[in-house]
């Protein structure tokens, strides 16, 4: 299982790297989206690949992983909203630097929030994880619909097929985060003999793997379309 986590970490490392590189070399509108996907790397690598990294038992590090995961889905959802607004109004504003600084600022603020409060125990981490996964699940569904609308608005452009790929990405993320949410809500970690847990567990792993692959592939595909 550790090997699988290692594979996942490698895939997310590739996906996150590609996403971050994409955010630098392309139009401002892609910054929020790409930075959001890059943050998955931080949010997933930290809790997922901790066995290979120092700080395994550090509750702050583990909690920050969930908080960054929440920030990731919020930032990329904001990015897709901006893109949708652009396709409707053809207006666009802001700067890349502002996006980077805002994200860094929110992460620092979250760290400060954690540090000025009592060390987060298992229960606190569970609640934060539920909040993270709830955001992922519902915003994934909302983003799928938003991306569908974006696709309809720009379907004759070179980039349009890239948005179909994003719909696949969010479908994978929905399975991945939805199964984790299901496990947490029904506390299936403590009922591992149930078939529900087994299905949810493998759905979670499969969704995670497919999401990491689809994110990396989608950004590579987008880079090809935007040459």
């Amino acid at each position: 299982m550790e090997q699988l986590h290692l594979v996942l970490a490698v895939f997310w490392l590739i996906a996150g790297g590609v996403a971050f590189y994409f955010s630098i070399g392309n139009a401002r509108v892609w910054t929020s989206i790409a930075v959001g996907f890059f943050l998955i790397l931080l949010g997933e690598i930290i809790p997922g690949a901790l066995p290979f990294l120092p700080g395994l038992d550090n509750p702050y590090v583990l909690t920050m992983g969930h908080i960054i995961g929440t920030i990731a889905i919020l930032v990329m959802s904001h990015g897709f909203q901006e893109y949708y607004v652009f396709t409707r109004t053809l207006d666009f504003e802001g700067s890349k630097l502002f996006v980077y600084l805002s994200v860094v600022g929110v992460i620092i603020a979250s760290m400060v929030f954690l540090l000025i409060n009592p060390a987060p125990g298992e229960d606190v981490r569970r609640i934060i994880r539920v909040v993270e996964n709830t955001n992922w699940v519902f915003l994934s569904l909302i983003n799928i619909d938003l991306i569908r609308k974006i696709y309809l608005n720009i379907q004759e452009t070179p980039i349009s097929k890239g948005f179909i790929a994003f719909m696949v990405v969010f479908a994978c993320i929905f399975l991945w985060k939805g199964s984790q949410l299901y496990i947490d809500v029904y506390d299936l970690e403590n009922k591992k003999d149930l078939i529900n847990y087994t299905i949810s567990y493998y759905t979670n792993l499969g969704g995670n793997l497919l999401a990491s692959i689809s994110v990396g592939a989608t950004f590579l595909y987008l880079a090809k379309l935007l040459r």
């Binding site: 392309n26 139009a27 509108v29 892609w30 893109y83 652009f86 396709t87 053809l90 666009f92 608005n153 720009i154 379907q155 004759e156 452009t157 070179p158 980039i159 349009s160 379309l225 935007l226 040459r227």
Partner: protein, 319 residues
């Protein structure tokens, strides 16, 4: 064409469009001028006859109509203001000035009489015996001769090609002998001279002039407006052509969102009434490229802009 003796030239070949005619007429009045002003325009000929400072007669003749008095003055002013006329002023003796009036406005006693059918010498004798005042106009296909009478006495002879009144009838007689020659006899009644009113006294010359100046100004403004409208229409067509060309290229490379981007950036072009030129489009191309980066890569955008630039060059140069 009105043929008149030239008399003594006072001014020749003046553009009446550059003269304040009411002022000029007033000077002639104050100078007790006797003679006539001849205005030649593409539309016709105007004649103003002065006798001792009195504007006794005015005529404007076109191929289709003859205007007299105030109508003639107004029309002469109207044509003068167009700026493509010619004004000649000739001094004449008072008798001849009146005779010219007779020639232009006299009662037609005989019209187009064939000189082979009448005896010209007996006609002249009758003019003398009946103490007629007026003018005999003798003309053939090629020539014309005028004989002016005052109370039955010939004042002189005038024919085309001569510069002044002659005292011998030789040329006139030679015209009369030409095949197919005809004669018009125009006379004025004895008291007509006294009854001639001074048109400058009875007419508001300055008013007529100002009215024509106003009319001319209005026409000029109308012409300018029409020209401006034509220019605007042409410019509108150029812009539409350029826009259509951009839309086509954008549709081909970026689809309907590309067309919308073109529309938006084209609307934002600030021309301030200046005709659209290639220089104005630099900002348009930059903004379009920036917006297009959100939906397409640099190579596609470059290709689209190249097509647009090439098309715009031909549209904007070709018109």
């Amino acid at each position: 064409m009105i043929l008149l003796p030239r008399g003594n030239p006072v001014k020749e070949n003046v553009n009446p469009g550059k003269v304040n005619l009411p002022d000029a007429l007033d000077k002639l009045r104050q100078g007790k001028f006797t003679g006539y002003l001849r205005f030649d325009f593409p539309e016709g000929t105007g004649i103003f006859i002065f006798q001792a400072g009195r504007l006794i007669s005015s005529l404007f003749e076109t191929g289709r109509e003859n205007l007299i008095a105030y109508d003639a003055i107004a029309r002469t002013f109207h044509e003068s203001l167009k700026g493509d006329g010619r004004l000649d002023i000739y001094r004449l003796s008072p008798e001849l000035a009146f005779s010219i009036h007779a020639l232009l406005h006299g009662e037609m006693l005989h019209r187009g009489q064939d000189l082979q059918l009448i005896d010209i010498r007996s006609l002249l004798t009758r003019m003398r015996d009946e103490q007629r005042s007026g003018c005999l106009r003798i003309y053939s296909d090629d020539h014309i001769a005028l004989i002016f009478y005052r109370d039955g006495k010939p004042l002189g002879f005038f024919h085309d090609g001569s510069t002044d009144i002659e005292t011998t009838a030789d040329t006139s007689m030679s015209v009369a002998r030409a095949p197919g020659a005809k004669v018009d006899v125009l006379i004025t009644r004895g008291d007509a001279e006294k009854s001639l009113a001074d048109l400058m006294e009875t007419a508001n010359i300055a008013g007529l002039w100002n009215k024509e100046v106003g009319e001319r100004q209005r026409q000029r403004e109308e012409q300018e407006n029409a020209a401006s409208r034509t220019l605007e229409m042409r410019e509108g067509e150029r812009r539409q052509k350029t826009l259509a060309l951009f839309q086509k290229a954008a549709q081909q490379h970026l689809g309907k969102i590309g067309v919308s981007l073109v529309d938006k950036e084209f609307d934002r072009l600030k021309l301030n009434g200046v005709p659209l030129g290639e220089g104005h489009l630099t900002g348009f191309y930059d903004n379009l490229a920036k917006a297009a980066k959100l939906v397409a890569g640099p190579s596609k955008i470059e290709l689209m802009l190249d097509e647009m630039k090439k098309g715009a060059r031909s549209v904007l140069k070709g018109s």
